[in-house]
């Protein structure tokens, strides 16, 4: 158990010491948030239930979690696997499942401060005010539901070559962000795009956060989609690992 803690601390420490990682993960959601704050729709109501400023904060929380997860996993992990370090760890007693689990956990740990940061921007500049217990509930909810993003980050690191991982990650950030309705409410999109959004985990992630705040509650369908994503991507990582074992990890 102590070796898992040591590895977890090592991983989080490496992430927090990486300037590239910090600038992208902190910069992206905060800058996007600031840009959208000047939107002319400010003051409107989204879907008839949610004030625009609340929608925006929850969306930027989701987007922040997504960016953090894809940056922490993605190209970073892909490069690390190509460099031989991941293989070196396989030659220690650390089990293969622990390597993947710690990677996901480390990503989850760095997502939490990103959520808090976006929320701070929300209260200071975004005009969002919530009760203390609601803040805690919202943060906890958005954190737990970020799990599929964390698994997605690791998934990309396992599946995509180091050279191509960066463009793939960038594309994913904007596809999941835009079509998941994080930059624009899904209700304002054409019908086809609205249907397509329901396939994306980013849509369901933000929908749960909004459900908590507008009193509609947490629809079980959202949970199911998110859990499905985490499970399928996690399974794919395991399968990839098995294949590498049979073929030899170069």
């Amino acid at each position: 158990m102590s070796e898992l803690l040591a590895f977890g601390r090592f991983e989080v420490g490496r992430l927090l010491r990486s300037w590239k990682f910090l600038i992208i993960t902190v910069g992206f959601p905060v800058i996007f948030y600031m840009l959208f704050l000047g939107d002319r729709r400010a003051g409107r109501v989204v879907d008839g239930t949610v004030p625009w400023r609340v929608y925006l904060m929850v969306s930027m929380c989701s987007f922040g979690a997504l960016v953090a997860a894809l940056t922490a996993g993605g190209a970073r992990l892909s490069t690390e696997r190509a460099s031989g370090w991941a293989r070196q760890l396989r030659l220690t007693p650390l089990p293969a499942w622990a390597y993947v689990a710690i990677k996901v956990t480390a990503i989850m740990l760095v997502i939490l401060p990103v959520l808090v940061l976006v929320e701070i921007v929300g209260t200071t500049f975004g005009g969002v005010s919530l009760g203390a217990s609601t803040w805690v509930e919202l943060t906890a909810l958005l954190w737990v539901t970020a799990l599929p993003f964390a698994v997605l980050g690791v998934f990309i690191g396992f599946m995509v070559h180091a050279e191509t991982a960066f463009p793939v990650v960038t594309a994913l950030m904007f596809v999941l962000g835009y079509f998941g309705g994080l930059f624009n409410p899904v209700s304002s999109m054409p019908r086809a795009l609205r249907d397509a959004a329901h396939v994306l985990p980013s849509f369901h992630d933000a929908a749960l956060g909004l459900g908590l705040l507008d009193g509609r509650g947490l629809d079980v369908a959202h949970w199911l989609v998110l859990a499905g994503y985490a499970a399928i991507l996690g399974l794919a990582i395991i399968v990839k690992h098995r294949i590498e074992e049979a073929r030899g990890l170069s």
């Binding site: 190509a82 070196q88 073929r247 030899g248």
Partner: protein
């Protein structure tokens, strides 16, 4: 080329001197194919506990694949493998195995972290690691501890990777081309270090394509090519084989039996008028040819730089295949 297969070097017996030495590694008919490429071809291999073995062969001979199978990184398609009395995966999980593998373009180290932090982490992953200072001393990385891993030179990174390989105090260590990024002096120091580590009673397998290095470090050398053991014997036997020369000439009606009795000759190959002799003493052999008045032309004595012997051992050709004019 079969001349230097040591009589004791049969694959079925551990080659370490003295019976009753436990077996550290065993390959039994290991076969593995990458697509159409046959990487390991019914390979049998045995390494005794405490032995230092060099796996020698050109690039692509199957050395790295052999090591990958021993480490459980690759599941072979056929054959059985045993490591320290158990399966590769279990031996690794028990923390009894260390390895320094080839890393291609990468450094094999995690970027954005200091050398000491990396080594401390690796130690934590083992139940009974060697003391931190001992590992630092063994690998000679004291001056590198405060450096960032991505700021190391190639040779420095190799040393750090060696420290990582031995951090868990393993009984068995694999080194795949460990001196690849080092200059001559670095190489010498590195081999001294490995020699010391081996002398503590560990089993070490070194894959290399440098004949001299293999000879200097190893108790026994196994030459691998095309996924098979081509030759197998102690370093001294290897040296003797390497000292051998080839004597070639053409003559009418060569008498194979007579040629075989010439001084120094260990092997005779006759093809038409073309004669190739393997000799441990080319001078004596040529004198004997003259004495017996064997009429020859196109006499040629070749051989025997270390590299040439190695090329011969692993090369495609049989003795008299090339360069012999009728």
């Amino acid at each position: 080329m079969k001349t230097w297969n040591a009589p004791t070097g049969q694959e079925s017996q551990p080659a370490a001197p003295g019976s009753g030495v436990a077996t550290a590694l065993r390959f039994d008919g290991i076969t593995h194919r990458y697509g159409a490429h046959l990487a390991l071809d019914h390979l049998d291999l045995e390494v005794a506990c405490g032995e230092t073995l060099a796996l020698l062969g050109p690039n692509g001979a199957g050395k790295s694949t052999t090591i990958a199978v021993f480490l459980g990184l690759l599941r072979p398609q056929a054959g059985t493998v045993e490591v320290l009395g158990t399966t590769p995966r279990k031996a690794v999980a028990q923390g009894r195995v260390g390895a320094m593998l080839q890393t291609g373009s990468g450094s094999g180290l995690p970027p954005g972290v200091r050398v000491d932090a990396t080594l401390r982490l690796v130690r934590r992953l083992y139940r009974e690691p060697a003391p931190f200072d001992v590992t630092v001393e063994r690998a000679g990385i004291g001056p590198l501890l405060g450096r960032q891993t991505h700021r190391l030179s190639g040779g420095q990174a190799q040393r750090v990777r060696f420290a990582i390989a031995i951090a868990g105090d393993p009984e068995l260590v694999f080194l795949d081309e460990p001196t690849a990024a080092m200059d001559v002096q670095g190489r010498r120091a590195f081999w001294r270090m490995i020699r010391q580590f081996a002398d503590e009673g560990r089993t070490i397998v070194v894959a290399t394509h440098h004949l001299q290095e293999a000879d200097r470090i190893a108790d026994r050398v196994v030459v691998v090519n095309h996924g098979q053991v081509v030759a197998n014997g102690p370093g001294a036997t290897l040296k003797a084989a390497v000292a051998a020369r080839r004597v070639r000439f053409s003559c009418d009606h060569p008498d194979e039996r007579q040629l075989d009795e010439l001084e120094g000759v260990t092997d005779v190959e006759v093809q038409g008028r073309c004669v190739t002799l393997n000799s441990l003493d080319a001078d004596a052999t040529v004198r004997a040819i003259m004495r017996r008045s064997i009429s020859f032309c196109d006499l040629e004595v070749t051989g025997a730089g270390l590299e040439e012997a190695f090329v011969e051992l692993t090369g495609r050709g049989r003795l008299a295949d090339d360069r012999c004019e009728p």
